[in-house]
C-alpha cells in the first residue's frame, strides 16, 4: 500500500507543478518557473525511488530474499456508470517504469534549464512538461484499459503542444497536427479494441482481463473460448484455481471467438502503432523533431513513444497467436525500414528519430515473438541511451546555434568534449557493445537487452520452423541481426560526422560551446547507459512482473513446479511453432530448461554468434568510411545505384509524399465534396424538386409569368410557383369563373353518377 501511495504522490506532483505554472508561471518567469518544475519532478523521482525500495524490500519482511516478488496492488474506482472503472495497478513493471520515467524527466527538466533559457515562452514549456510527466506517470499507473486510454490521449496532447511549441513556424504546427492526427488514427483502433473488449467483458482491470481471456495465447483459430466455471466439467478444476484472483464478474462470456480476440488484439495494437510510430503510421515521429530537443528526448525517444510497447506488454496475455504474428511483422518492418532510412539522413535529430523508430520496431518485434521480458527490458535501457543521444544532440544543436545538419558539423569534440564522450557512450550502448566471457556478460546497457531479444528470436525462429512452419519465420531472427549491424554503422556515422574530422563550417565551429547545467544530465545518463543492463536490476524486476502477470491466468505458465507439462494444446500446422514458441519462451523466462524449451534455448544461444560481432563490424565500418569526413561517402554515392538508393532513403522512402498524395488529399477531397454536396445538393434538393414540379406542371407557362420574389428560399420558391399555379385560374374574368363553375358541375355530376352507379350495381 505504501508503494501505491508513494507512486500516487509521484504522479500528482507533476500535476501540481502544471497547475502552479499554468496560473502563475508567467509571473515566475525565467528561470524560476523552470526551477519549480524541476523541483517537483525531482521530488517525484525521489518518491518513485522510495517506492521502488519499499517494493523490493516487501519480501524481506516476509522472510524471503530481497526483491522481485511483491504482490501486485489493484485499486479501482467506479468512474462512469456501466462498470467503467478507473484505478491503479502496481506491479514490478509499474515500479520500474516509474523510476525510469521520473529519472529521465527530471534530467530533461534540468537540461532544459539551459537549453530553453533564451525562449520567451520558457514558463509555458515547463507547464507542458509538467502536464506530460503527470500524464505519462498516470498512464503507467493505470489499472484499467480505459484509464490507460485517457492518459494515452493526454500524453498525445502534450506531444502535440510540445511539438508545436514554436507554433509560429508553419512546419512546427504542421508536425504537431500530423503527430496528433496520426496518433488518433491509431487510437481509432484502440477505441475499437476497447469497445470489443468492453462488449465482452465490460470494462475490466488488467488482472480482470488477464484472468478472463488469459488463455488466448494458446487459442486456435475458430475456437470458442468458454471458460468452464461449472464445477466438475473438464479442465475446470485446473483453471478455477488460477481464476480466483480474477474478478468474478468476468468469468462468464460464452461467445468470444478466437477470431474476435485476434481482431481485438490487432485493434488494440493499432493504438500502439500510432503511439510507438510503427509502420505504417511511423511518419509523424521524424516530423515531431520540430519540437525542442529536450522534448524529443523525453517524449519522442524515452517515454511516450515507448507507451505503445508498454501497452502491448499489458495486453500481452490476451493476444492470440495470429495477433502476435501481426505484431511481430509490424515491428519487423518498422525496424528494418527505419534502420535503412536512418543511414541516409543528414539531420542529426532525424537520424536519431529513425534510430528510435528502429529500436521501437525491435521492441515491438520482441513482444510479437513473445519476448516479453526482452522487449520491456530494452524499453528501459533504450530510454537511457536514447535520451542521452537526444540530449547530446541537443547540446550539439545548442552549441551550433540551432544548426542540425550533419554536413555542417565536424570536429566538434574539441569544443564540446563532454558531449562527445557521452554521445560516444550512448553510441556504444545502442550498438550493443559488450562481450560474453563464459557465463559473465560485460557490456553497455543495450548489449544486454538486445542480446536477450535476439536470443529469444533465434529460439523462436527455430521453434517456429521446427514443426513444419514456414522458413520465413527465420526473418524474425535475421532481420534484427542485420539491423544490429546497420545500427552500429549509422550511429557511428552520426558520431563521426559530428565530432570527428575537420570542422566543415568554421563559423559554426568557432561559436560552439557547452553549458554545465546541460552536461550534468548527460553524465548521469551515460552512467546509466553503461550500468543499466545489469546493476539496476531492471531485468529482474521485469521478470518478476512477468511472473506476477502469469499468476493471474495460466497455471501452465507458472514456474515449472506448478505447470502441467502434459497439457498441450493441439496446434494447427501453420502456427504450430508460433504458439509453442511463445509458451516455451515463457517457460524459458522462468528458468524451465527441461524439454523443448531447453533445446530452443540452446539453439537461440547458438544463433547469437551471428550478432556477437555486429558492433565491431558496424562501428569499424563506420569509422572507416567516415574517417575523412564526407569524402569517402560522397565518392561512394556517385555510383548510380547507390545514389538512387541514397535519395530514396533520404526522402524516407517517399512515405510522406505517398500519404500526402493519397490519404490527406483524399480526405480533403472528400471533405470538399461533402461541403459542396451539402451546400449545392442537399440544400438545393428542394430547389430541384421545385424545378421538376415546374417542368411537370400543366400550367408551366402560367407559372413562368409569375417570376416571384426569389429571395426567401428555394423551398419558398417552390411554394410560390405552386401558388402561382393555384391562382392562375383566378383570372378576374367572371366568365372564367362561371365556366369553371360549370365544369365543376359537369365533373361532379359525372363523378357522382359513377359513384352512384358503381354502388347501386352491387
Amino acid at each position: 500500500m505504501t508503494v501505491a501511495v508513494l507512486l500516487l504522490i509521484a504522479t500528482l506532483l507533476p500535476l501540481l507543478s502544471f497547475a502552479i505554472l499554468a496560473f502563475v508561471g508567467k509571473r515566475m518567469g525565467n528561470p524560476l518557473a523552470g526551477i519549480v518544475g524541476t523541483f517537483f519532478i525531482s521530488a517525484s523521482f525521489v518518491c518513485s525511488l522510495a517506492a521502488m525500495i519499499v517494493w523490493l524490500s516487501l519480501d524481506v519482511a516476509e522472510g524471503r530474499a530481497f526483491g522481485f516478488g511483491g504482490q501486485p496492488i489493484l485499486k479501482t474506482y467506479d468512474w462512469l456508470p456501466g462498470g467503467l472503472q478507473i484505478g491503479i495497478y502496481v506491479d514490478s513493471l509499474t515500479v520500474v517504469m516509474f523510476s525510469m520515467i521520473t529519472l529521465v524527466a527530471a534530467l530533461v527538466h534540468v537540461f532544459s534549464l539551459g537549453y530553453m533559457a533564451d525562449d520567451r515562452r520558457f514558463p509555458r514549456f515547463y507547464t507542458y512538461l509538467g502536464l506530460f510527466s503527470f500524464s505519462m506517470l498516470a498512464l503507467v499507473l493505470s489499472g484499467t484499459l480505459l484509464q490507460l486510454f485517457i492518459f494515452w490521449e493526454l500524453v498525445g496532447l502534450c506531444s502535440y503542444l510540445l511539438i508545436g511549441f514554436w507554433y509560429e513556424k508553419k512546419t512546427a504546427s504542421n508536425a504537431a497536427i500530423k503527430a496528433f492526427v496520426t496518433n488518433r488514427i491509431g487510437d481509432v483502433g484502440f477505441i475499437i479494441g476497447l469497445g470489443l473488449l468492453f462488449c465482452h467483458l465490460g470494462n475490466a482491470t488488467f488482472p480482470g482481463i488477464w484472468g478472463s481471456l488469459g488463455n488466448a495465447g494458446m487459442a486456435q483459430s475458430g475456437q470458442v473460448l468458454i471458460l468452464p466455471m461449472v464445477q466438475g466439467s473438464a479442465g475446470a478444476a485446473e483453471l478455477s484455481g488460477s481464476l480466483q484472483k480474477a474478478e468474478p464478474q468476468f468469468t462468464r462470456f460464452p461467445h468470444v471467438t478466437t477470431t474476435m480476440l485476434t481482431l481485438m488484439g490487432i485493434a488494440l495494437f493499432c493504438g500502439a502503432i500510432g503511439k510507438s510510430a510503427q509502420f505504417p503510421l511511423h511518419v509523424w515521429l521524424p516530423d515531431a523533431m520540430e519540437g525542442p530537443t529536450p522534448v524529443s528526448a523525453l517524449i519522442h525517444a524515452a517515454t511516450m513513444v515507448a507507451a505503445g510497447v508498454y501497452l502491448v506488454g499489458r495486453i500481452f496475455p490476451i493476444l492470440t497467436p495470429d495477433a502476435k504474428l501481426f505484431i511481430a511483422i509490424i515491428g519487423c518492418v518498422t525496424m528494418t525500414i527505419a534502420a535503412l532510412i536512418a543511414m541516409a539522413q543528414t539531420d542529426i535529430k532525424r537520424v536519431l528519430a529513425y534510430s528510435t523508430l528502429s529500436q521501437l520496431g525491435l521492441m515491438i518485434l520482441a513482444m510479437g515473438i513473445g519476448s516479453w521480458v526482452g522487449g520491456l527490458f530494452h524499453l528501459i535501457t533504450h530510454a537511457f541511451f536514447k535520451a542521452l543521444l537526444f540530449l547530446g544532440a541537443g547540446n550539439v544543436i545548442h552549441a551550433a546555434h540551432h544548426e542540425q545538419e550533419l554536413t555542417e558539423f565536424g570536429g566538434l569534440w574539441r569544443k564540446i568534449p563532454y558531449t562527445a564522450i557521452t554521445f560516444g557512450v550512448a553510441v556504444f550502448a545502442i550498438a550493443g557493445v559488450g562481450v560474453t566471457v563464459g557465463d559473465t556478460m560485460i557490456g553497455f546497457a543495450g548489449y544486454f537487452s538486445k542480446d536477450l531479444i535476439l536470443h529469444h528470436a533465434g529460439a523462436f525462429a527455430w521453434l517456429a520452423t521446427k514443426e513444419g512452419g514456414h522458413t520465413a519465420y527465420w526473418l524474425f531472427f535475421w532481420l534484427p541481426t542485420i539491423v544490429a549491424y546497420l545500427t552500429a554503422f549509422y550511429m557511428t556515422r552520426c558520431w563521426m560526422l559530428t565530432f570527428a574530422g575537420r570542422p566543415r563550417n568554421q563559423k559554426l565551429y568557432d561559436r560552439a560551446r557547452e553549458t554545465p547545467v546541460m552536461y550534468i544530465p548527460l553524465a548521469v545518463l551515460s552512467v546509466l547507459s553503461v550500468i543499466g543492463g545489469t546493476a539496476l536490476g531492471a531485468r529482474q524486476m521485469i521478470e518478476s512482473a512477468a511472473k506476477e502477470t502469469n499468476n493471474y491466468f495460466d497455471p501452465r505458465l507458472r514456474p515449472p513446479a506448478v505447470a502441467n507439462p502434459t497439457a498441450k494444446v493441439a496446434q494447427p500446422a501453420h502456427f504450430a511453432g508460433f504458439s509453442t514458441a511463445w509458451q516455451n519462451a515463457g517457460a524459458y523466462a522462468h528458468g524451465d530448461t527441461s524439454t523443448i524449451a531447453s533445446d530452443a534455448y540452446r539453439l537461440g544461444e547458438r544463433s547469437l554468434k551471428y550478432v556477437s560481432f555486429a558492433f565491431v563490424v558496424g562501428i569499424g565500418l563506420g569509422i572507416l568510411v567516415y574517417s575523412k569526413g564526407l569524402t569517402i561517402p560522397n565518392a561512394l554515392l556517385r555510383v548510380p545505384p547507390l545514389r538512387w538508393l541514397n535519395i530514396w532513403l533520404y526522402r524516407a522512402m517517399y512515405f510522406d509524399e505517398m500519404y500526402a498524395g493519397v490519404v490527406v488529399a483524399c480526405t480533403m477531397a472528400l471533405a470538399t465534396v461533402a461541403a459542396v454536396v451539402d451546400r449545392y445538393v442537399i440544400d438545393a434538393l428542394v430547389n430541384l424538386s421545385a424545378r421538376v414540379v415546374r417542368r411537370g406542371a400543366v400550367l408551366a407557362r402560367l407559372c413562368d409569368q409569375f417570376v416571384l420574389d426569389r429571395a426567401v428560399s428555394a423551398t419558398a420558391e417552390m411554394v410560390q410557383e405552386i401558388g402561382a399555379a393555384a391562382r392562375a385560374p383566378q383570372t378576374g374574368r367572371i366568365r372564367t369563373y362561371v365556366t369553371a363553375l360549370m365544369v365543376a358541375v359537369a365533373l361532379s355530376l359525372a363523378g357522382a353518377i359513377i359513384v352512384v352507379l358503381s354502388t347501386t350495381g352491387r
Binding site: V719, L741, L749, A752, L757
Partner: protein
C-alpha cells in the same frame, strides 16, 4: 281556388313558445326598422345608426342568452325553424362578431363614409346578419333558400358599398353574378329533392332516403350537388370560391372581415346541420349516399385548403392574402363537416347528444373569429394610416405601432396553428377528432398538417414585413384609432387566453354542440316534424 282554400285551412298563428326562441332575430328585425327610422331623428345620421345597430345587436345578444334553448320535445314553429344549442352558440358568436365589425367600421371607414350612407350600410349589415343567423336554424328547403338569399343579397350590396370605388363596384358585380348563379343552381337542384320525396323538410327526406324510398341516384346526386353548390358558395369552397379573393380585395375592410367569418361560418353551420340530419337518419353508417357525401365534402375540404394555401402564397395584397387564408381555413372546417359516418361509433354521443363534428366546428369558429377579427383590424388600421393594402405597408410595423404588430403576430401564428395561440388548440381539436374517426380520415389530417406548413410561408411574409423589414421613409409611426387598436389587441389577447383557458372554451363548445333532432335521446323530438305548409288535420 278551392284547392288553395283547402290547403290553407285554418290559419296558423304562432304563439310565444313558437316565437320566443327567435326573439333575437326579432330584435334584429326591430333594429333594421330602427335603422331606417333613425335618420329622421338624428343629425349625425351615421353615428346614430351605429349606435342603434350596436344597441340592437346588444339587445339581440342579451335576449338570445336570456331565452336560451327551448326544452326539447316540442319543435317551435312546427319545425320550420330550429332553435337549439348549436344554433344558439353560432348566433351568439355571430352577433359578437358583428359588434366587432361595427367597431371596426367605427375605427376606420366611419370617417370616410358619406353622411347619410350609414342607415343603408347598417341596414344591409344587420339584414345579412339576420340571414346568417337564420341559416343556422333550419332544415327546411324553403327556409334554407330564403336564409341564404337573405344573407347574400345584402352582402352583394355591401361589397360594392363604396359607390365611387371602382374595385368595389367590380367586386360586387362579380359577387352578385356568381352568387346569383350559384343560388339559382341550388334552387333548381333542390326542386328534385322535393320532386322525389314530396316534402321540404330535410329531416323527413333523410328518413325516406334511409328507408330506401324511390330515390333516383342521379337526381339525388344533382340535388346534393346543388345543395353543396349553394352552401359552398357561402363557404367559398373550391370550386365555388372564385368570388372570394376578388370580393375581399374590392370590398372595404370591415365588410371583408364580416364576410370572411360570418358568411363562411353561416355556410359551414348550415352545411353541418344539413349533412348531420342525413347522417343521423342513416345512423352514421357507412352506406350510400352518406359515404359519397362524406367523401365529397372531405375531398372538397382538402382541395379547398390546399388551393387556398397555395394561392395565398403569391399575394401581395393583405386582404387578398387573408381571403385565400380564409378559403384555406374554410377547407379545414369542411374536413370536420365530412365526419358523417364513423368506424368507431356514433358521431353524436347518445347520452349527451353532443355532436363531435359540431363541437369541432364551433371551437374552430370561435378561435377563427378572433384570429380574423384581429388580422382585419390591423389590416384596416394600417390601411388607414398608409392608404395601402400591400404587404409592404406593414414594413417595420413593430417600430411604428408595436401593439398592432404584436396583435398581428398573434393572429398570424394562430392562423398557422402554432402555440402559444389558440389556433393551435383549434387545429389540434380538429385533427384529433378527424384521426379518431378512423378509416381514411387520417389522410385529411395529413393534408391539414402539410397545409399548415405551407401556410407558414405566406403568413410569415407578413411577419417578415412587420418585424424584419425596416420601415420606409414614407412610413411614419402612427397611433391608430383607439377602438381599432383595442379590437386588435383584444383579439390577440383572446387568442393567448383561449390557449391557456382552452378548457372552458372547449367545455362551452361541447355543451353547445347539440342539435335538435339529431343524436341521442335527449335531443330527439318527441313528435315527427310535420310537413311544413300542409294543413293540420
Amino acid at each position: 281556388m278551392n284547392i288553395v282554400a283547402a290547403a290553407i285551412g285554418r290559419p296558423y298563428i304562432p304563439g310565444w313558445t313558437d316565437l320566443g326562441p327567435f326573439v333575437a332575430e326579432g330584435w334584429l328585425i326591430v333594429t333594421v326598422v330602427g335603422l331606417l327610422l333613425a335618420p329622421f331623428f338624428a343629425r349625425r345620421r351615421n353615428l346614430a345608426c351605429f349606435l342603434v345597430a350596436l344597441a340592437g345587436l346588444t339587445a339581440a345578444l342579451i335576449s338570445l342568452l336570456w331565452v336560451g334553448v327551448p326544452a326539447p320535445g316540442r319543435a317551435p314553429l312546427r319545425g320550420i325553424l330550429i332553435a337549439d344549442s348549436f344554433a344558439l352558440l353560432w348566433k351568439a358568436m355571430l352577433i359578437v362578431f358583428t359588434v366587432g365589425v361595427l367597431f371596426l367600421w367605427r375605427s376606420t371607414t366611419a370617417s370616410e363614409m358619406r353622411e347619410g350612407d350609414g342607415p343603408e350600410f347598417f341596414t344591409l349589415l344587420i339584414g345579412a346578419t339576420l340571414g346568417m343567423s337564420l341559416m343556422a336554424s333550419t332544415t327546411n328547403l324553403l327556409m334554407i333558400v330564403m336564409a341564404v338569399e337573405l344573407a347574400s343579397l345584402p352582402s352583394y350590396v355591401l361589397a360594392g358599398f363604396r359607390k365611387t370605388h371602382r374595385l368595389g363596384a367590380e367586386a360586387s358585380l362579380k359577387y352578385v353574378l356568381f352568387g346569383a348563379g350559384c343560388s339559382a343552381l341550388m334552387i333548381y337542384a333542390l326542386t328534385f329533392l322535393y320532386g322525389m320525396y314530396g316534402t321540404l323538410d330535410l329531416g323527413a327526406i333523410a328518413r325516406q332516403v334511409q328507408g330506401g324510398a324511390h330515390a333516383h341516384p342521379a337526381l339525388l346526386t344533382i340535388a346534393f350537388f346543388g345543395l353543396i353548390a349553394g352552401v359552398g358558395f357561402k363557404i367559398a369552397a373550391v370550386p365555388f370560391h372564385f368570388w372570394c379573393p376578388d370580393v375581399f380585395e374590392g370590398a372595404s375592410v370591415e365588410v371583408t372581415a364580416f364576410l370572411s367569418v360570418a358568411s363562411k361560418g353561416a355556410g359551414l353551420v348550415l352545411l353541418l346541420r344539413v349533412l348531420m340530419t342525413f347522417a343521423d337518419a342513416m345512423e352514421y353508417r357507412a352506406a350510400q349516399p352518406l359515404v359519397a357525401l362524406a367523401y365529397a365534402v372531405g375531398i372538397l375540404g382538402a382541395i379547398t385548403a390546399t388551393v387556398g394555401n397555395t394561392a395565398a402564397f403569391a399575394q401581395n395584397n393583405i386582404k387578398r392574402l387573408l381571403a385565400y387564408s380564409s378559403i384555406a381555413h374554410a377547407g379545414y372546417m369542411m374536413c370536420a363537416v365530412s365526419l358523417l359516418f364513423n368506424l368507431n361509433g356514433h358521431q353524436t354521443d347518445a347520452a349527451s347528444g353532443v355532436n363531435a363534428p359540431a363541437q369541432v366546428l364551433l371551437f374552430y369558429l370561435t378561435v377563427y373569429l378572433f384570429m380574423n377579427l384581429g388580422a382585419f383590424a390591423v389590416a384596416a388600421l394600417v390601411y388607414r394610416a398608409t392608404g395601402s393594402e400591400d404587404i409592404s405597408a406593414f414594413n417595420g410595423l413593430v417600430k411604428r405601432n408595436p401593439v398592432l404588430a404584436h396583435a398581428m403576430m398573434a393572429c398570424m401564428i394562430s392562423l398557422i396553428g402554432l402555440p402559444p395561440f389558440a389556433g393551435f388548440v383549434a387545429k389540434l381539436n380538429l385533427m384529433l377528432v378527424l384521426m379518431n374517426n378512423g378509416g381514411g380520415w387520417w389522410i385529411l389530417v395529413a393534408v391539414i398538417a402539410v397545409n399548415s406548413i405551407a401556410s407558414a410561408f405566406y403568413y410569415f411574409r407578413v411577419l417578415r414585413a412587420i418585424y424584419l423589414e425596416p420601415a420606409g421613409a414614407d412610413q411614419p409611426a402612427f397611433a391608430g384609432h383607439p377602438l381599432g387598436v383595442a379590437l386588435a389587441a383584444g383579439s390577440g389577447l383572446a387568442l393567448v387566453l383561449m390557449l391557456v383557458l382552452a378548457s372552458p372554451v372547449s367545455a362551452l363548445t361541447r355543451h353547445y354542440a347539440r342539435m335538435q333532432g339529431i343524436g341521442g335521446a335527449a335531443a330527439t323530438p318527441a313528435t315527427k316534424p310535420v310537413v311544413t305548409v300542409s294543413a293540420a288535420p
